[in-house]
């Protein structure tokens, strides 16, 4: 081939640029749409999502007792609170709290507090369900991992956790039967 530049090629430069750019763009879109299934397969599978709801019978739960049940692989705390605990949870000023929320907004029946027993800091299970457990400065739950203190309403009062213990969605089916999920 001669070393002289080909005049036809110079005219075609912009056409060629268009072809190059559109090839890259299409290849990019194609690659991205193929990558999505590879990423999304890591999200919860259908059988994991289809986990049944859990029903709990509270009739044998005496005042001052707690039970832990498993829901979606996580512990759920149910505590039958004493009148004193209810009083403390309701009367405390919420303005200074990290995640201010009235006790009334966290319970369906003020006698029973239902919480996801997972510390909102880094996911440990807080202590306070058993009688001998350390319950922290506010008498509710205490996370031993990084020292978060929760009160009788599961609200964060001290320590690194950013939010209150989560209240799962649940319904009272009767006075002493609840369904979580």
């Amino acid at each position: 081939m001669s070393k002289k530049s080909n005049p036809i090629n110079e005219k075609d430069d912009s056409k060629r640029d268009f072809l190059v750019v559109s090839t890259y763009a299409l290849a990019g879109v194609g690659a991205a749409s193929f990558v999505w299934p590879l990423i999304d397969q890591m999200n919860p599978a259908a059988d994991t999502l289809a986990l049944a709801s859990t029903e709990i019978d509270l009739s044998s739960l005496e005042e001052g007792q707690s039970i832990t049940v498993k829901w979606r692989g996580k512990p759920v705390f149910v505590r039958h609170r004493t009148p004193d605990e209810i009083k403390q949870a309701k009367e405390v000023l919420i303005d200074d709290m990290r995640d201010p929320q009235a006790d009334a907004d966290r319970v369906a029946n003020e006698k029973y507090i239902v919480l996801v027993g997972v510390c909102t800091h880094l996911g440990c299970v807080p202590l306070g369900q058993k009688t001998g457990d350390i319950k922290g400065q506010y008498g509710g739950w205490f996370c031993p991992c990084h020292g978060s203190h929760y009160d009788h309403s599961g609200r964060i009062r001290k320590g690194p956790a950013p939010t209150n213990l989560e209240v799962p969605s649940y319904k009272f089916l009767s006075d002493t039967l609840i369904r979580i999920g």
Binding site: T48, G73, K74, L122, C124, P126, L127, P144, H146
Partner: protein
Amino acid sequence: MSKPKFKNPVVKWIDYRLPIFTFMDHELNHYPTPKNLNYFWNFGSLAGIALVTMIITGIVLSMNYTAHVDYAFDSVERIMRDVNHGWLIRYIHMNGASFFFIVVFIHIFRGLYYGSYKAPRELLWILGVLILLLMMATAFMGYVLPWGQMSFWGATVITNLFSAIPVVGESIVTWLWGGFSVDNSTLNRFFSLHFVLPFVIVGVVILHLIALHRFGSNNPIGIDVKGTQDTIPFSPYYTIKDLFGLGVFLTFFAAAVFFFPNFMGHPDNYIEANPMVTPAHIVPEWYFLPFYAILRAIPDKLGGVLFMFGAIAVLFILPWLDRSPVRSSQFRPIFKIFFWVLVADCILLGYLGAMPAEGIYVILSRIATAYYFFHFLVLFPLLPYIEKTKPLPISISEPVLSGAATASAFATREKK
């Protein structure tokens, strides 16, 4: 460089078509290396040997391991009790991780002390920090596989770090888990990644070595090699020195494997994982403790996570944080003192990471964390403006010979 002469006709035939022997001769045999390297320069090759040990024992272990929540714990116990030599292979793998981190930490502090991260070795250093990050990810996922209590809760706490990210944090954690808690999907993907990441590390190690061989090793006095009089061929001088160091390393390694195999582990990991009960004190493996202490020192979730990752991030930009043109601490009297303060600070952070997060330990963690970042973000950039460095020798040969005249005479004689 002269072409090596191979006598073996088969080697000759292959090398003509695929110059692999020329390459190895060039990079491992004749490779000119500063003649004043001390024993701290052994730790790079030791890290490489530790990596190979981990890969070999790991592949063998995977032949007997079952990545399922119902069987994982029992399959590890089976390896320990029933599989032929399984106890030995697992203890080598388990302690190998610790020894890998020990040699890598010494390797990193060597680099810090002698300024090995400075121009033109910035990318070499950055690739090294990348290897450290990959090692941490691999080690973390490997620790989950035996499915003990520490495995489970360590995995829960560490994956939950990502929930600190605003808005998308929770979705990311669910995505990492493949469910609503650490469960079977999590264990399966961790096994898959734990298997593949070491080979990614091998890839980055190769890049690390290519970058190293571009300008060669730094050396204890931190000045550039001036010519052939300052170097010796890698083989036999450093191959034999590395081999001697390997012997010493293996003595310690074997002592741990045979006499104290669980010293660096945690007894709670011999209890099968229970998602309903968190152990009283969750501690990560010892090599994560300094970072864990930083995480807990900050009384804010997102802040703690940012500072913890920041502790590694500062290492990436270190070549530009340190403004001193002098590499070696031998000629930086103030920096040298602060270097040892940093070493002590990191050991203190490691100790604090193992202690419960309360009382005096929290306060000490905050002071130690503050010092860590002060050292990197304030001391490194500002110290060169106040520090008076000692005069640098003219060449690598000079300090060992009596005066510059002898050094130059020696140099001319070498050239002949």
